[in-house]
Amino acid sequence: MFWELELVIYIFLLISAIVALEVDDLLVAVVMMTIFSFLMALLFVAMGAIDVGFTEAVIGAGVTGILFVVVVYQTSRKTND
């Protein structure tokens, strides 16, 4: 548990979350969401929760990314805000 490492990961988490909410292209938002999940898995492993980190890396960064891409392609890709 190194708190400097965790602080850096927290700051990148905030940046990726805000970019995922503010960007115009929804596909970019989905990719930022995947990066957010992977950084969160890194943070869980740094905190010692290896099982939760493994689950988050498989599900949040793998399966949720595929489902988000499918829903973006089935509907529209552009958004106004």
């Binding site: 929804l26 290896i50 689950t55 949040g60 958004t79």
Partner: protein, 122 residues
């Protein structure tokens, strides 16, 4: 002072991340953006539970024969990890339900913007 900071900054970041998720739900018009905000809020709650299960100088929750189990401070607390493990998987299943509802709405009304939907429903 530094000790107070290292003991509490994780809570502050968790609160800020939760408020980013609530901001996405409250202010964004597009329904996919609202779903992304919901996912961020969900993960921030998981992060709070994992961060309160932490102990300084403790090892992970797999038993090591060299580390005695009598001293409880040697191992992390396994109960919040278990609860959050199931919460993540149930979260992705319910997100799948949200996605199917989004596709059904788009097939019927042709848009995902909140204002246009309210006009088309009436």
């Amino acid at each position: 002072m530094l000790e107070f900071f290292t003991g509490h900054y994780a809570y502050w970041f968790t609160v800020i991340l939760l408020c980013v998720g609530v901001y996405g739900i409250m202010f964004k018009k597009n329904l996919i953006k609202k779903t992304i905000g919901l996912a961020i809020l969900q993960i921030s709650v998981v992060m709070y539970w994992v961060s309160i299960a932490n102990k300084w100088d403790a090892t992970v929750t797999t038993l090591d024969p060299n580390i005695p189990v009598d001293q409880v401070a040697n191992y992390l607390n396994p109960l919040p990890h278990t609860l959050m493990l199931t919460a993540i998987v149930v979260g992705v299943a319910t997100l799948g339900v949200a996605f199917t509802l989004l596709i059904a709405i788009y097939n019927r009304y042709g848009t995902l913007d909140e204002q246009e939907l309210l006009e088309k429903i009436q």
